[in-house]
Amino acid sequence: MITLSSYLMISLALFLSGLVVMISRKNIIAILLGIELILNAAALNFVAYTRFVNDNIEGHIMSLFIIVIAAAEAAVGLGIVIRFFQMRESIHIDDAAQLQS
């Protein structure tokens, strides 16, 4: 039996794994993947709440917009990472430490 709580558990797991990825991985691409996991957790929550609790389309619209904006954000993020790689020849987050004084 799939209930609301199963969806919420899955999205919580996605959220937490996203957070863990962002904290523990040093690769910038992996951090961007972690951000995607968090956004997907939120989108899944919106859809699940709409399906089981609130019978309106607002949640569906919200999740569609999350998908679109996440794509835009990933595009800009990857562009910046490419720029960074061209200058430093590295995508390791510890190499981005010039600005700490």
């Binding site: 910038i28 939120a42 949640g59 919200m62 917009f65 800009v76 993020g77």
Partner: protein, 488 residues
């Protein structure tokens, strides 16, 4: 239905003007020769667009509030006042960008285009009445900001600033959405005015979910105004970005974030429920932390730009105090504070920009002995620094005084004392730069480049409000007094 949307569009003219200006800037940019060194039409178009948006916003200021686009956007005079500040800030930043050599000549038009985009996002954020538009506005603001931070594209520091900004931004937007999703699940709506009717009578189970959810929600907004503990990106991004971009970041996203937090607090948490108490409590702790951390970290900085970044964190803390009191007086003093902060920030960054163009960096030592070379500029800088520190009779003092009196009227004495102590701390590092400018002798004979008569006049003209608002402040307070929030 269709007619309703047309009527709504009629109330949405300032935003439309900014959008149209942005698109025409893109077209003009495309029509230019690829190697053209100067594009005068770009500056002219953005100037005309922003001025007309400004005029219409000023005319709208006295109109009563209303909600448009099927209650998803609220147009009220509070939002309009915040938009006026943002439009003026964009105008100032674009002018700095035209003069500064910190942005490559070829990319100056791109700066104007993206500044317009960020402005649209900020305006949307300021008047959003549901979570969807809040999210769209925030992301329009953020995504373009990431690109702006990387604008100096062959510079390693600028690239790193953009990278840090986009990673922190993505994380906090994700956390905010996760919080939003649970708010939606519990309350069943994404509309803020519908939420406001439900919040005073919640069951304790709902409360248990909503308190952490709203705190997660706050992460995304707190990140935009750089309040502690979400401020870690701010000094690095401010230092790495080109100076006009830094000036822009210090004004537009900050005011937009403040306005949306003020709207949420006044709309949803203007009651005695446990949820409101915890939201206000969290806000007050963060305001106190933001002031203290910002001002104490500013003391040890060597770069003036980084010092201004930390001081803007401190100012964000003081502005948060205007929200914490949850009253009309608080909102009024918040708007007045933001208005004076606009002029002070613009003048400070303007002068730092010229010094940076001349010497290639903006360390404190570069400012020594400036008064013997450029008295007018230095006197403006001194006035602005005194005003930022809150010395009477300048406008910074009146702004701080208003906020303090609102806080004291609410009997939040601890917050008022912390704010007072912070004011004293901030005096130390603002005085440091004044001491260098006046009492030290300069290390080189070089004059500051680019200080034409026009630029000196503009610096002087921007300093005039800093002084006059300190003396004739009833006028602007009177305008801000009409600026009430529409609460349905």
């Amino acid at each position: 239905m269709g007619l309703n949307y047309l009527v709504s569009l009629g109330h949405y003219v300032p935003e439309l003007i900014v959008c149209i200006t942005m698109f025409s800037l893109i077209l003009i940019e495309a029509a230019h020769d690829k190697d053209a060194t100067s594009k005068p039409l770009i500056g002219l178009t953005s100037f005309i667009g922003l001025i007309s948006a400004f005029v219409i916003l000023v005319l709208n200021l006295s109109k009563p509030g209303l909600s448009i686009f099927t209650n998803s956007i609220v147009i009220d005079s509070f939002g309009t006042f915040a938009k006026i500040i943002m439009v003026l800030g964009t105008l100032g930043a674009i002018y700095i960008a035209e003069q500064s050599s910190d942005i490559y000549q070829k990319l100056k038009s791109e700066f104007s285009i993206m500044a317009m985009g960020v402005l649209v996002g900020g305006m949307l954020l300021t008047s959003a009445n549901n979570m969807l538009l809040l999210y769209i506005g925030l992301e329009t603001l953020s995504i373009l900001s990431y690109v702006m931070a990387t604008l100096k594209k062959n510079n390693e520091r600028s690239g790193e600033a953009g990278l840090k900004y986009s990673l922190y931004g993505g994380i906090s937007a994700g956390i905010m959405l996760f919080g939003m999703s649970h708010v939606f699940g519990v309350l069943g709506t994404i509309n803020f005015s519908e939420m406001a009717t439900m919040i005073p009578n919640l069951t304790s189970d709902q409360m248990l979910i909503l308190i952490p959810s709203f705190l997660l929600f706050f992460v995304g907004l707190g990140y935009k105004i750089a309040c502690v503990p979400f401020h870690m990106w701010s000094p690095d991004v401010y230092e790495g970005s080109p100076i006009p971009v830094t000036a822009f970041f210090a004004i537009v996203p900050k005011i937009a974030g403040m306005a949306v937090i003020a709207r949420l607090t006044m709309l949803l948490f203007n009651n005695d429920s446990l949820l409101s108490v915890s939201w206000i409590g969290a806000l007050s702790v963060m305001a106190a932390l933001t002031m203290t951390v910002g001002n104490i970290s500013a003391i040890g900085q060597r770069s003036v730009k980084r010092m201004l970044a930390y001081s803007s964190i401190g100012h964000a803390g003081v502005m948060l105090l205007g929200i914490v009191v949850v009253s009309e007086i608080g909102l009024r003093s918040l708007l007045f504070y933001a208005f004076t902060y606009l002029f002070m920030t613009l003048v400070a960054f303007y002068i730092v920009s010229f010094v940076n163009d001349t010497y290639g960096n903006d360390h404190f030592d570069r400012f020594s002995g400036l008064i013997y070379k450029h008295p007018i500029m230095t006197i403006s800088m001194i006035i602005v620094m005194f005003s930022l520190a809150g010395i009477p009779p300048l406008s910074g003092f009146v702004a701080k005084f208003n906020i303090f009196s609102a806080v004291v009227a609410k009997k939040y004495y601890v917050l008022a004392i912390i704010a007072g102590i912070n004011s004293v701390i901030s005096l130390y590092y603002y005085m440091k730069i004044i001491r260098l400018m006046v009492f030290k002798t300069s290390e080189s004979e070089n004059m500051i480049l680019g200080l034409t008569l026009r630029n000196q006049l503009i610096i002087g003209a921007l300093t005039v409000p800093v002084v006059t608002l300190g003396v004739f402040w009833e006028k602007i307070i009177g305008v801000a007094e009409q600026a009430t929030l529409l609460i349905q």
